[in-house]
Symmetry: C2
Subunit: 175 residues, 2 copies
DNA sequence: GAAAATTTTTAGTGGTCACTACATATGTCT
DNA sequence: AGACATATGTAGTGACCACTAAAAATTTTC
């Protein structure tokens, strides 16, 4: 999981993955079937560990502006955590990936995440749900990309706060 | 340039690039020295054609909020133009690239762009320049990434508008 | 303890990568 | 025309890719 996160799907080789796990390539194929199978397993682990913070945050108590603000701030923290790796595995590990099947895997996860966000927004602002959801996705993608480009945690957090303020202001106008 | 933009630096091969230009690989090496040399030339062309819109927009007349709003909207249009390719060549073509020298090339261009933005913001809001610049970078990265993930032009433009409103609101608070 | 099933290791499969040595064709100048 | 510089095409370099067949070691079962 760490290797996929750090270097992206294409750039990491099966031999390297096998060595990181501590087995030889054939054992890896026996256990996961293919590099794709291992990647899917890594994505599951990621969602269970820290990557699933969006869905978890949206299930908390609070009004919409608070929740989205929390999502942005947690994204900034998660994507630039010192003990972790920059950016989001789902959003960024298959960028410029040459295998369309692999892209489809992360595309599906992204669509799932989008639907979570859209439904929560629609509960309070059904008419503006699509627009606001797109804005949230753009912001999360931006936070992940900026973290990957080396932006430091404090700066990322401040940017997330500005985006959260912007989101809240939109609700004020539409509500 | 088109191939690098569509598929990313690593995923496109020299043989393919040579065929697209209409020559054989040795001629390509005679003209550009290496794949890296060709990529650098492609980046220059990109900045001259459509990719340099940030610097050009910041040189226009208008107050800061107007200019940044224009930058966001032009980013949304440029990154999702129907006759072009999704996203930004500088921001996204070396994501998950395995060659650190190549990453360094786009990193330098990004730093240059950041400095353009920071200087223009500092002219009117020197104290908040760093914070606001980071927010602009996060937003541009997000617009490019979302375009690459297939967000449609209208949705991207609406998200850019929300981000522009958020930026203007920050100026109101700090001004 | 021997046979069978399972796992691990070794060693390779064909394919593609960036890149290049060398032969061939082309153009230029006298 | 003939000598020379330049550009192109052919063909191949070793290295790495995902993946796997078969041998060796291990564990399980009777």
């Amino acid at each position: 999981m760490t290797l996929f996160h750090r270097r992206g799907y294409d750039a990491v080789g099966v031999a390297e993955l096998a060595e990181a796990i501590g087995v030889n390539p054939p054992s890896l194929y026996a256990a996961f079937g293919s590099k794709k199978g291992l990647f899917e397993r890594a994505l599951e682990r990621y969602q269970e560990s820290g990557g699933g913070f969006v869905a978890r945050t949206l299930a908390e108590e609070g009004n919409l502006a608070e929740l989205i603000g929390r999502v942005f701030l947690r994204a900034a923290e998660t994507y630039s955590a010192a003990d972790s790796l920059p950016g989001c595995l789902v959003l960024d590990s298959t960028r410029n990936c040459s295998d369309p099947e692999i892209r489809a895997v992360t595309d599906a996860l992204r669509a799932e995440g989008r639907e979570h966000i859209r439904r929560r927004i629609a509960r309070e602002f059904p008419r503006a749900a699509e627009v606001l959801t797109d804005y949230v996705l753009v912001t999360l993608s931006g936070l992940s990309a900026a973290a990957r480009d080396g932006m430091d945690p404090a700066a990322l957090r401040r940017s997330a706060q500005i985006a959260a303020d912007g989101f809240a202001a939109q609700l004020g106008g539409k509500g």
